[in-house]
Amino acid sequence: MHYTFEIERGNFADAGQASSSVKRTLKQLGVAPPNIKRTVVALFEAEINAIAHAYGGTIDVDIDDGKIVMVVADQGPGIPNLDLAMQEGWSTASPQVREMGYGAGMGLPNIKKNTDELKIETEVGVGTTVTMTVYLA
């Protein structure tokens, strides 16, 4: 099953539509609540990252019988130092973003914690593609 969602830059108010929709499907499939939670939390974090840092992008979700693969691709500034970005508490979020309660530097570490596989492809000035996999069974 495939789903596609658009991400609009700076629109925090509408964040979470992708995760809500995915959540509904996983509930229909009878996936265990802890796995639903991991999936939804990771997807929501990745979406917030793209909203906060990038100039828009897309979310592609594929569910088959064993796993869910979520690809969040943005056109954005890219991540200059990925190792730093993976550290808890490290953030380049703007003061405005922090004022909204985001930008605590927990995004990527939280995604890593909640997914089984995580691949980040990034190029400065071009964009970032985050591929997250969660095994559902």
Binding site: M1, S19, K23, K27, Q28, P33, V40, V41, F44
Partner: protein, 452 residues
Amino acid sequence: MAEKESFFKHSLKVGDRCQGCTTCMRSCPTGAIRIRGGKAVVNDNKCVDCGQCMKVCPHKAIYIQQDDFALIQNYEYRVCLVPATFIGQFDEQYRTKEIYSCLKKLGFTHIYEVEHEVEYIVDLYNQYMDRHPETRTFISPYCPAVIRLIQVRFPSLVDNVIKVRAPFELASRIIIRRLMDEGAARESIGVFYVTPCAAKIAAVRNPVSGKETCISGVINMDFLYNKVQLLLHKSDNDAQPINHALTSRDVLWPLAGGEACHFRGSQYAVDGLQNVLNFLEKLEDEAVDAEGLVEMRICDQGCVGGVLATNNRFVARKRMEYRARLFDRLNRSKTRYGRYNDPEFCKWIDEQMEIPEIKPRSIYKLDDNFAEAFKRAERMKKIEKALPGVNCSACGAPSCAALAEDIVRGDAKMDTCIFINRHSQASEDAIRSIWGDRVKTKEINKENKEDK
């Protein structure tokens, strides 16, 4: 709609006045209602007793089954277990003891307040939270409709609910003990709970704890309100005033915010069906990070918004706040029940008040087998695309998405959609003139019909 067996029992009933108008079906938060045979039919496993259907019904066709009032005469000691919400229904000119004296005139021998023991409930919540330091967000177990809603729609949050039974469970046990201390035999005591809503009746008859209840019967608040109001209006009302022991915090407890304010740390007070749904959704996604106690009430403004509360919720709230101030001025204090000093008794109470487990009862699962559920989910998505998406409800389901689900569950057919089942050119033209391109071609629909 053949369901295996229902694990929820309800007191909400659909009566003969039902016109099948779809109003209730469209407002049900769990999609529990369908129209069949021209009338609303409720799926017991999906219904959470929130009372929304009853509130919106334009024909007053939905009612709450209550126990026969004459039942109270079976007991020598007839206790009216009354929530503070009840006194909020009456004008400030009537003193609380006047209202209570009318209850006595109606046949009760004792009046006891549901909120009489909330101080101990607060202790139980705090002890539970201390025992679960790993949990960040605690959801109040006070509103039974919220617990059921979590079970069916937000099963991943069942472990966040504080596993302590409702105040009426404690109050009923204490008043029974008090009467037994005075020499009454257990079987001669009948405790009758006055309910402001359907959810609390369901919680008495079919408690989530699975444990027994000490309530002998449930009386609808509007029924009792009418009876008391009649007595108050009689000029020859010679009922003897009786004293009561409510404090200001007790009176405010059933109101939105009346519970959360007793707890340390950050608290949230969420009231109203839509607000509760939104907040639970966000909690589940961890899109809000709520640390501490989250009070949740299905009804707007809390229990004064209950479907059996007769008066306007804002007026009732004002009246209760007035009485709370009055009780504060009178500096009323109540004597704590002596047995609370006995550790053995407290141990017994704590056991009685514990909810062993809250089971998740997801209503979304399309099949127990993942592969089959997957097949159904895929088919459902396809069917949803073929349906017009105007949610007209003419098929007897609340939305096109719900019809798609009914179809994959085998409870409905594609043909039940009147858009799809249009045969004449005249109906084709009429529908297109209204809905334009949203009406899918017959070819797509055919393809879907042959799909299975």
